[in-house]
Symmetry: C2
Subunit: 495 residues, 2 copies
């Protein structure tokens, strides 16, 4: 067996272990009885250790330097490139540091669960300080191995090849424009008729049935996936068995419905990954900004469009026996595009959401660089919220303690939400330009033209191209902040 | 780390991999969309290979010969004994033979699915002949490693320590008595009023709700387990997260209900395994005859008793709006204890079932010994059915091709069904003698006294004792065919 073939075998094994972990995680969130928690932790930890042993197997380094050459095809070359990147991540950090961060992260997360409720930042502070100290060590080790800046090394885990200079430029543009845009949108919406309430309650079974129908409309294949319930909605499983979850609120159908559409966007990406490369690194999704672009393209671009609301309004009326002016398309459109300044990121609308993300990106860069002490985080948060979102948190609970990410050492993830939103806008614009029937079809509940374009231009490429290459091939240029801005102005100012 | 501690770590890892495989298997049967089949096969095969690598790790042999001595406690000694047994099984058979049997077994099973439907034994014959040839090689290798007869080596995989001389004696007793007993029971039942039909349909939701209620009555904890639907009912999962399945028939509530009770018996055994030994061989269930005794104790001994039917009859009437003479306790009791000569083992009643098993035991011993050629199986089957069950198969489909077991090389499993039924009778008799309130409590839907006795005398011992020791401690003697016979005569002849 030559070196490249041996590498495929080893990475194939890891990928199948990942699939096992995906199902075990899905089961934990959607099916497992509470009493199974301890055992599931043990099982998953064991699989992760076995996976880590495969990823750091001493033979891999030799095989990776040996493999290559002109006899490999383009996809194999790209696969080798991804293997090298993953191997650098897996081997860069000494075992004792991985373990220390894992332990400190778990302890910090435990403390956070209690101290968040109690609005008690003082108790959290030393734990988070310890985590951030260890994250800095991890970032330094990975930066060395990858030959990039420490923040970029953390970013690379979620957004391969991501560069701070690029994100700075894109986010500075947003930071300069968003506060004024939010102001203008709020003024504009104040001049419109108030949103009429749709009443309720909305039976869960009716919400679920409509969710299933819309998933099928978008292209989800139920012989290759499931829809279930979990506390935190997510998309998991594998390309041929994609599991999405949602949660239902009887008082409000809008969240579960848009949540299902969002996760379906993720699911369609997973499902569309290149079949010939199922168990290889090059067959994986490109990264989190592209992944989030696929969910937001469906949720924000396609399904909050006037066209989609024309299609879905009668279905909503049928599903929930809706009657009267609240169920008119105009009102439903206003309901689905309401903007409000709020304290909580996960509840934010399309316009204010990026402001929440820019704040977190700036703060986590400062924390990692040592320019901001954890102890000064609450103050920096408040200042940032006022400047970017235009609202001041009344406490830390709904301020700097609201998100789980930093608690377990996840740094470099936040920017992908907004990079994804921007990418979604740019891809959707390109799709509607390249395939004129995309929007008219959506008005008829036909997503074939859109999905066909996404399959051809995004999904089927897996990790073959870099994010920049992928976007340039699909849209003619790398990520461009003006497209997203124009989208927001068009939708929210009628510009 | 000393040798024993190192062994615990390694076997602990294997046990956690087993737990992962249990959930993946449950998911495959109860949750997975059809399109996930290929990937699930890949994932489970990978986990099995990793597990096999751990089980055959070269260091284990040294550790196993090194470990031991007076500093180990009784449970640790018993654990070491079980480790050695498992290690002998894992290492006895050369890899190429394991692979050959796995491949031939899969091919034979595939052929069987088609040729069974077509009643085409001729096509199956060469495949099954190949499988049996390989099974003989495996049995010889395991017999050498374990120092027992070849059939006992196969048996030991399911029934540790099982001896053919003992089973021969027990089954000869059955074979001598059953045909006459069946005859007398049929005569006796012919003299009773005919069973009145309960009508139907019985909505699945009502069947499920009653099943859940009865599971709770028996002692199943839903924060440590689930009830779902699968084509072949089973009990899986792990001690703290036991997953049972059933299937529903709208025309007949009796099967799903007794099926749920049967699987709950298995589940309670799993749940009651010794907590301190969760991930060690000595913490596992003792073997398949004891496991089947726990399901049959619940299904046959406890829940087909007159006492249980007194309790459950009003619940059945409530659940299915049952009214009239068919729903009287007497009629329900006759319904649940009807005896019929039939061709199919899985549909057989308590009296005829052992005759089906004795036939299979004798045939598989003859096949393994080379005393019976696969080509002569259909004839031998027909003769045996006439002699033991008193009915002649009209074809091979409902004759020697009805069971999956031999197709993938599973030999040595069949006897555990009837050993389990006999063990159940003996344990239940001992429980009702030791704890007089067991039966009166069951009449009130209280299973606490019975479960308490089973926990103390069976479940909590895991694999600490041999099957014989366990039964002798619990009932005063090893397995005794007369107890089961007396039970059948009492229930079915009123003797």
């Amino acid at each position: 067996m030559d070196a490249y073939t041996a590498l495929e075998a080893q990475f194939g094994r890891m990928s199948k272990l990942d699939d096992a972990l995906e199902i075990l995680h899905w089961d934990m969130a959607a099916m497992m009885p509470s009493g199974g928690a301890f055992g599931r932790g043990e099982t998953m930890a064991t699989l992760r250790v076995l996976r880590h042993e495969l990823a750091t197997d001493a033979r891999l380094a030799d095989l990776l330097s040996e493999a290559g050459g002109a006899d490999l095809g383009d996809w194999q070359q790209a696969n080798l490139r991804e293997m090298r990147r993953l191997h650098a991540h897996a081997t860069a950090v000494p075992g004792r540091l991985v373990e220390a961060l894992s332990r400190a992260g778990s302890a910090c997360e435990m403390t956070w669960r209690a101290s968040r409720k109690a609005n008690d930042f003082a108790t959290l502070e030393p734990k988070l300080t310890e985590v951030m100290g260890l994250v800095r060590e991890v970032a330094a080790a990975k930066a060395e191995a990858l030959g990039v800046e420490p923040y970029e090394a953390m970013l690379d885990q979620h957004e391969p090849g991501g560069k701070t200079a690029r994100i700075d430029a894109l986010f500075d543009d947003l930071a300069a424009n968003l506060p004024g845009l939010i102001e203008r949108v709020l003024d504009h919406q104040a001049g419109q008729p108030p949103v009429a309430a749709t009443g309720g309650p909305f039976p869960i079974e009716a919400q679920r049935a409509l969710g299933v129908k819309l998933m099928q409309t978008l292209g989800f294949e139920f012989d290759h996936g499931r829809l279930d319930v979990s506390h935190h909605p997510f998309c998991g499983g594998s390309a041929d068995d994609v599991r999405i979850t949602t949660r239902y609120d009887e008082a409000d159908f809008t969240k579960a419905l848009m949540g299902v559409i969002h996760e379906t966007g993720h699911a369609l990406y997973e499902r569309g990954r290149p079949k010939a490369w199922r168990y290889q690194p090059v067959g994986l999704a490109r990264g989190m900004s592209v992944h989030e672009s696929q969910s937001l393209l469906m949720e924000m671009q396609a399904c909050r469009s006037r066209e989609f609301l024309d299609y879905v309004a009668p279905l909503l009326r049928d599903a929930f026996a809706g009657d009267g002016p609240a169920w008119a398309v105009d009102n439903l459109h206003r309901l689905y595009t309401q903007v409000r300044r709020g304290l909580i990121r996960v509840d934010a609308d399309e316009v204010t959401y990026p402001a929440h993300v820019v704040l977190r990106y700036r703060l986590e860069r400062a924390l990692l660089a040592g320019d901001l002490d954890v102890r000064d985080l609450p103050g920096a948060w408040r200042e940032g919220m006022v400047a970017l979102v235009g609202i001041e948190p009344s406490d830390d609970k709904d301020g700097c303690m609201q998100d789980i990410h930093w608690m377990d050492g996840t740094v470099g993830y936040f920017p992908t939400y907004t990079l994804g939103a921007m990418t979604a806008a740019q891809l959707f614009e390109a799709a509607t330009e390249a395939v004129p029937e995309v929007l008219p079809s959506i008005a008829k509940g036909e997503f074939g033209p859109l999905l066909g374009w996404l399959r051809a231009n995004v999904h089927s490429w897996g990790s073959y191209y870099s994010t920049d290459e992928l976007l340039t091939r699909a849209t003619g240029r790398p990520l461009d902040a003006s497209v997203f801005r124009a989208h927001l102005e068009r939708r929210y100012l009628g510009a």
